[in-house]
Symmetry: C2
Amino acid sequence: MLTERQNEILKLIVMSYIKLAHPVSSNLICDKLKCSSATVRNEMMALEELGYLEKTHTSSGRIPSEKGYRYYVDHLMEVKELNGEDYQKLQIIFDNQQLELSDVITKSLQIVSDMTSYTTVILDEKSHENKLKEISVVPINESEMVVLIVTDKGYVEHKDLRLTGVSLDEVKNTVKLINDLVVGTPIDEVSSKLEFDIKPIIGKYVKQHEMIYNAFYNVFEDMSRKGNNINIVGKNNVFKHKEFNDIDKVQDIFEKFDDDEKMLSIKEDTQNNDISIYIGKENKLDDDVTVIKTNYKTDKDNGTIAIIGPKRMEYSRVVNLLDYIKKQIER
Amino acid sequence: MLTERQNEILKLIVMSYIKLAHPVSSNLICDKLKCSSATVRNEMMALEELGYLEKTHTSSGRIPSEKGYRYYVDHLMEVKELNGEDYQKLQIIFDNQQLELSDVITKSLQIVSDMTSYTTVILDEKSHENKLKEISVVPINESEMVVLIVTDKGYVEHKDLRLTGVSLDEVKNTVKLINDLVVGTPIDEVSSKLEFDIKPIIGKYVKQHEMIYNAFYNVFEDMSRKGNNINIVGKNNVFKHKEFNDIDKVQDIFEKFDDDEKMLSIKEDTQNNDISIYIGKENKLDDDVTVIKTNYKTDKDNGTIAIIGPKRMEYSRVVNLLDYIKKQIER
DNA sequence: AATAGCACTCTTTTTATCTGATTGCTAATA
DNA sequence: TATTAGCAATCAGATAAAAAGAGTGCTATT
């Protein structure tokens, strides 16, 4: 257990380092505390021994270790109200009744990205709870048509189909058959339902059934596979932080941004609905960053929004922002 | 006018620099030419005086100037066949009959990006020649519905509509009205046609006409504005070239990639249908890169594909690749 | 327990030196 | 006259040494 003064010093060091990105010296701290630099040094030594602080070299000031950030976040950070300016800028988006939900999410995170200089991520998963609402077909010319699929949550998917030597009527018959039998099925179950319910009987109603059946089967297979959406906003903000002042580091993180598997790992591991913070090695993305995320759930879809920045992050501000956005989009 | 030997030397220098990314010395050249390094030096001096070569410092070897690259491209470059490996890798995509055209384009450029380590761009403009084919509406719940718009070229757009206090029948009446009167109209003319043909008479058929009219008007306005699509593949390849070994340069080009106006400027300025090459200052994107582009035109849509790389680019290979892709997608 | 003082450590910056690549020029050669 | 050999001059880049500055850790003192 840390003493009151150690808490105070650790807090000051974390806050100073977040702000100035420079190892913190005993002198800087003793100005704000009514004691001498030597005393602060003694305490710093203790904090380092306990693993909350680190040095960049023998005679440098101290920087927080990951354990230090974690302790700060868990015990020292003051969670205040969302600051006024941040609030106002976001409110412009939330007040706009015109926007669709997905636009609201994207735009609000765009704004957060701009305001904070961090990178934001939206991970949403469309497919899971969507049920097939309606399929329709629009012919384009003799051999081509567009298949439109709408789910009960308003999610739309479309696909070009090229079928030679098949009459439009036959396709329409198939669509009618599917609409009659499969509407209401969760979309990732449609293709298997197609296989067991439609395939055996389609021959009765449709002549060129094999070709048409295959085409639709593929459309639904594609669709259920397409579920995951990754939207990364403000990648270029990476350049603004001195921990990425090295071209190899930048390349590394950019390649991770493009690695879907890595990015999807952000979704994992949250049981609760709160805001979670993963500092450095605590996240699977990159040891040099902190990921702060939360899940959201609306009647249309659910997903995860996350903010990625250096470990030296404005924790309290980001938590406030995420919390506010989550509440607004769930409203 | 350059002498035969000067042509030969310039060509060797450009080719060597493209390959090795290192200023070319007189020695390197005289190995391949039956004359001494002193002779080569004299010629190099002449070529520099004429503006085809540059030095990085007083006693460095020579590198091609932009004028040098331009001369190489116009007069010295041998345009051979597409190389076998490049051909084969692309052919896998073009042979895949399953893929939609837009996927073929994206995937083939993805492959080019991977093979060459350059960045590729697809700029396509959907709206211009598309004519409205069919509008339909799928209700989601009492107040929400999805509007689906399909054009004669198979381009699909959809939008959520929230209308409170309006019956579905009235919306369907409106859609019927629009379908009857506006189908066949180019999509960027639809909203004005709506204003002059539909607005005056809609009141007769639909009660809540104002609200519904406005909703549809907005949908079409949005749609015609959405025409331009920018798809950049292989941004991270920038890291692979030594001209971008500087973090500021990388940041600069990444910010340009995100600047739609800058990227759209790539489309401009081509009258003909050939392949165009813009070296350094010749392009509006960035003085440090070369942009090689061509327009394509299919029955579905038309657009521009481009390859962006350092000025020290494998010109002949890239031209071959672009040419081949263009021909394949226009087939 | 807290502090003042000071030697010590290590980074950063500056300056100097050396090495190697390559040129431009001059004089000799074919 | 065109080509070449030879050589001093130039400059980037690597390596080393020196100086300056920031901040610590320890010891002795309050």
